[in-house]
């Protein structure tokens, strides 16, 4: 059987489907009438992406400036490359976050793909660019960096969350992953500007860990919101 024949059978079957009752459509229209007022459409995706991008970078730079730009001061020429790579990843994460707030937006890569690319590319770049030998205090120094990175990620994540609430999120898990990755990248950007510890395993483990921790936190918050909503609906 050819595709065209299947198309015809499907169309015929669809035509025979009894549509909704006209009285139901009148009821629906009637229920919308009281709330009929003009609404302002969301700003363009480009505008929102730019705002979120600049805000995420600003949060990283402001926090790093307050803590001291020791990392940036200690960087050698090639190590500056990391400061070029992170903004590119942040730009991609803002695009996915803004896309998540609008139903039916253009098809793009899944947030989980971006999350994996961000973690893998940072690990690779850290391994290539940061070659200092270990000098002890791996865990205490690492935890301090992780905490500072996540603390920076929180305002970036809250900003992304606030923006998501202006729209309509159809896939809360994917939106949370995109926003969490964006926030985590803002935290890593701050650490690269601030942290002067260039030991290979320190940056690979503790700096990169800010992304999965932020994404996991965002995902957890999204799940809690989802559970709360379904409880509210079932009441």
């Amino acid at each position: 059987m050819r595709d065209g024949e299947i198309d015809d059978i499907l169309k015929k079957a669809a035509e025979s489907h009894p549509g909704p009752d006209p009285a139901l459509l009148e009821r629906i229209a009637g229920s919308l009438q009281p709330g009929m007022r003009p609404v302002r459409p969301l700003p363009s995706a480009r505008t929102l992406e730019l705002l979120l991008y600049l805000a995420a970078l600003a949060i990283s730079v402001i926090v790093a400036a307050r803590l001291g730009m020791h990392g940036f001061a200690a960087m050698s020429g090639p190590q500056i490359l990391i400061l070029a790579a992170i903004p590119i990843l942040i730009a991609r994460a803002t695009v996915l976050t803004i896309a998540a707030m609008t139903p039916g937006s253009k098809p793009r890569e899944a947030p989980v793909t971006l999350f994996a690319i961000a973690c893998a590319s940072l690990v690779a770049l850290f391994a290539i660019l940061f070659r200092d030998p270990p000098s002890g205090h791996f865990v205490p120094q690492g935890i301090a960096c992780l905490m500072a990175g996540v603390a920076t990620a929180i305002p970036a994540g809250l900003l992304a969350w606030w923006l998501l609430h202006r729209g309509f999120v159809v896939n809360l898990g994917a939106a949370a992953l995109a926003a969490g990755t964006l926030a985590g990248l803002a935290g890593v950007a701050m650490l690269e500007l601030h942290c002067p510890n260039f030991q290979t395993w320190h940056v690979i483990v503790w700096h990169t860990a800010v992304i999965p921790v932020s994404a996991a936190l965002a995902f957890l918050v999204a799940k809690l919101v989802q559970i709360r909503r379904s409880h509210a609906h079932s009441r």
Binding site: M1, D3, E5, I6, D7, D8, I9, L10, K11, K12, A13, A14, S16, H17, P18, G19, P20, D21, L24, L25, R27, I28, A29, S31, L32, Q33, G35, M36, R37, P38, V39, R40, P41, L42, S44, A45, M101, T102, P103, G104, S105, K106, P107, G167, F168, V170, N171, A174, S230, H233, S234
Partner: protein
């Protein structure tokens, strides 16, 4: 004016608070959405409820439609969300996926009846993800990109689902035809 362009114009007028535009959209788009809910084998009453719920949600979030963008992917993305939410809330789904093995054992309709199968019967052997792609692509007449937008997936994934769905449909309809 293209039908799609007309829907976009109506949507913009709806955002501006024009009730006649809202009514026109309800009249034009509800049959598609009703069918979309019906292919998931919910009862007619459920399809009616979901349709009503979808319009209420569309009304709440109509500001998220960006003028110039296609209306159908936006609308179907919201309808999908409502459907998933409905399944989650009820904790069960009335949709049943019949495997090809099961359908092979079923007494198939005669060839003369093949063309008279209802949409629900035709799409029964397909998993929900393929069923919705076939509904949007082949019945609602959306483009591959529009379906990809509505389902938050890639164009390649939509093509693959449509291809697999047609393989299954071909097999099922071939069996139906072979029994004549």
């Amino acid at each position: 004016m293209q039908p799609g362009g007309e829907l976009e114009t109506l949507m913009v007028r709806y955002q501006e608070g024009d009730f006649t535009a809202a009514t026109a959209l309800i009249q034009r788009l509800s049959p598609r959405m009703h069918r979309f809910f019906a292919v998931e084998f919910t009862s007619r009453a459920s399809a009616d409820d979901l349709l009503q719920e979808t319009w209420l949600r569309i009304h709440e979030v109509r500001h998220t439609y960006r003028p110039g963008e296609p209306v159908l992917p936006w609308l179907y993305a919201i309808a999908r969300h409502i459907r998933v939410d409905h399944y989650r809330k009820t904790g069960r789904t009335t949709a049943r996926e019949l495997s090809l093995d099961e359908t092979a054992e079923m007494p198939g309709p005669q060839a003369a009846q093949a063309a008279a199968l209802t949409m629900e019967e035709l799409l029964a052997p397909l998993p929900p993800s393929q069923r919705e792609v076939v509904e949007m692509l082949k019945i609602a007449g959306m483009s591959l990109e529009e379906v990809a937008r509505a389902t938050s997936s890639s164009i390649g994934a939509v093509k693959q689902k449509a291809f697999r769905a047609y393989e299954k449909l071909r097999e099922r309809l071939g069996k139906v035809g072979g029994q004549s």
